[in-house]
Symmetry: C2
Subunit: 378 residues, 2 copies
């Protein structure tokens, strides 16, 4: 192998997604591979909502611009999550071998590309990958590895980061909106093995509601209710307290904001005058486009703490936290304690042109409203 | 002295304040005083907003009902703050002497009364008072002692409880709405002696605005702006950042909520991707009647923590914390580091009838919209 023809999804400036993205062809010459360089080839590259925010230019985690693709001006490459196979290693590389499955450790790697030439031991990011498996290790499959970096890692940290004293007897509850999201589906699975009960709130009026409820209960949700129910006096004052009984709804996970987030706070259990535990509202998204809001008297009387969760920030501030989380999630996959959440795979032949590549991505982006899209390479 | 004729402001059920309150006469027989009992006589009893919420029945800290006034049914006595003079002590009482100035340690004492007969060493509240001064101690005057229990103690704890690592070089800022409130005026004084800069937000369009600004600057506020200015892009993006410069607005104190609280968050300094300090929004009231609300993206990108502050809860959970705070505030008065904030005194002759007593209180309650009212006894 001498010259690899590669493609990337690039842009020079944030903006309206359909207008800014290009398919850029480039090549990697493996004959000139440095002793501390590796070449990786894409196996699967997901499209996540935060990728789209980053493209739109409204995201605080900015892309890196690179001249490595020999473009007339530096370009950014889309995407923050991807699974790759190592296909070439330089003479001094000992930490990776051909056939290893790796994911980038840091955000803004620019994952939407068929191949990448990566230099190890750079001072700012000496060990840029997390090895998740290898070609001959059958304990982790592609479906698990492709999305391990973001959705299950987010769910794991959401449960782990804020409440440190989960009741070992199983009397603590999580309530979450976005119950039908990828993160929501991992939350119920991970909560269940931690002996934490869950109430997943889903959007009312979906045609396949019964099927969604069944799927979430099968995954381990204790209860599934609609947002309309969650916001009703009957559920706030009677039905949910009846379920929770002597337990406590100690954590609310909010990716919607507006009145949906407000209802979560109404379900939290807390007594500022007596309890030492502060129920937490943790917000990791704002899908409604509305502000984060909740009742000031509930906040006061229940002693609510409201915090922001952001996987990207955790990783940038402490890269090792990402490595640790991914390893814990992989262990849960291997033990069979959790299972992957299905996504919509879109196949791409790695030998196709950059024109085909951008077409497939634009299709995937357009369809990502209907569910998680992952470009899978063959 | 054998029989003391006393009055109290009582009610049997929360509701519309003008309808539920009565003036109740009762008597205290000092001849039958128990060995561990004391009789106290009011010197000053403030009317606070939280007292009115408690009367309305919408407050989570409930009143105590008592049969001690020989009423046909148990009654609650209004008020949570008061300064009293000890006028009789039982034979076994060593911790207080006649002439001591005391304030109740716990909330819901029922302070709106001319006299009280109090039993010491009760298991649930063995030491019910904090001694703040005495008749012959001239280092604390009545104006200071009358309101030490709530407003300056709140201000002290607001600064002390949430941010533990105040920059010793004076580059940290507090922004607060309710800048012209009693608490707000103590916040700027206490912040100044702690080398913390302050931005006090006051309501726009008050006729005496220039005078308010001058008063707050004189008390120690670094900057005073109107709510209209605080909510403007110009102040958020340019003017306030220019003042704060390399410093950080690390604490926002919010007693208003709605868009006023939201604007405070827009002024907080934080970078979730890099900073380890999380800027705090601390809410201790909701004067606007609007929910607590703020931008979810600001929350995420700045890593905002939102918490509830409630003096009553702190005191109920840890009574000693109240004693410690009051002693620290008294020390600041004695050292001249802070000065009392003026209130509207309403004089009451302690020998007047319970009819006169209730009339004066209803007047004070009606006028408490215009500023803090304190019944002062002579």
């Amino acid at each position: 192998m001498v010259k690899i023809n590669a493609s990337a999804i690039t842009y020079t400036k944030g903006g309206e997604i359909s207008k800014i993205l290009s398919g850029t062809g480039f090549s990697i010459d493996t004959e000139t591979l440095g002793p501390k360089q590796v070449v990786i080839q894409a196996l699967a590259t997901p499209i996540n909502p935060s990728d789209l925010n980053q493209l739109a230019g409204t995201y605080a985690s900015k892309p890196n611009f690179t001249s490595e693709l020999d473009t007339p001006v530096p370009v950014a490459i889309g995407g923050n999550e991807g699974l790759y196979k190592v296909i070439e290693v330089g003479s001094d590389v000992t930490s990776y071998k051909n056939g290893d499955w790796v994911i980038p450790k840091m955000p803004s790697f620019g994952t939407w590309r068929t191949h990448a030439l990566v230099t190890l031991d750079k001072p700012e990011n000496p060990d840029p990958f997390i090895k998740v498996s290898s070609e001959d290790d059958k304990s982790i499959d592609l479906t698990q590895a492709a999305t391990v970096s973001i959705n299950p890692s987010t769910a794991y940290q959401l449960i782990d980061q804020f409440i440190k004293d989960w009741d070992p007897k199983g009397n603590d509850w999580i309530i979450q909106n976005g119950g039908n999201s990828q993160v929501g589906k991992f939350v119920v699975q991970i909560a269940k093995i931690r002996n934490i009960k869950t109430i997943s709130v889903i959007r009312d009026g979906k045609p396949d509601q019964d099927q969604i409820v069944k799927e979430l209960l099968d995954l381990g949700a204790t209860k599934v209710i609609t947002d309309k129910e969650a916001e009703s006096e009957e559920y706030i004052n009677k039905i949910v307290p009846g379920w929770v009984n002597e337990g406590k709804v100690i954590l609310a996970l909010n990716c919607v904001c507006g009145k949906s987030g407000s209802a979560l706070v109404s379900h939290l259990t807390g007594n500022h005058l007596a309890d030492y535990r502060s129920p937490h509202l943790v917000t990791y998204g704002g899908m409604s486009g509305q502000p984060l809001m909740y009742s000031s008297s509930e906040s006061l009387f229940k002693n609510v703490t409201s915090k922001a969760y952001w996987l990207t920030a955790n990783t940038k501030r402490n890269p090792q936290s990402k490595v640790d989380t991914v390893k814990k999630v992989l262990a849960l996959y291997k033990s069979g304690d959790i299972k992957p959440v299905p996504f919509n795979g879109k196949e791409f032949n790695i030998k196709s042109t950059s024109d085909d590549y951008i077409k497939l991505f634009l299709k995937g982006i357009a369809e990502s409203k209907t569910g998680k899209q992952v470009i899978v390479y063959n």
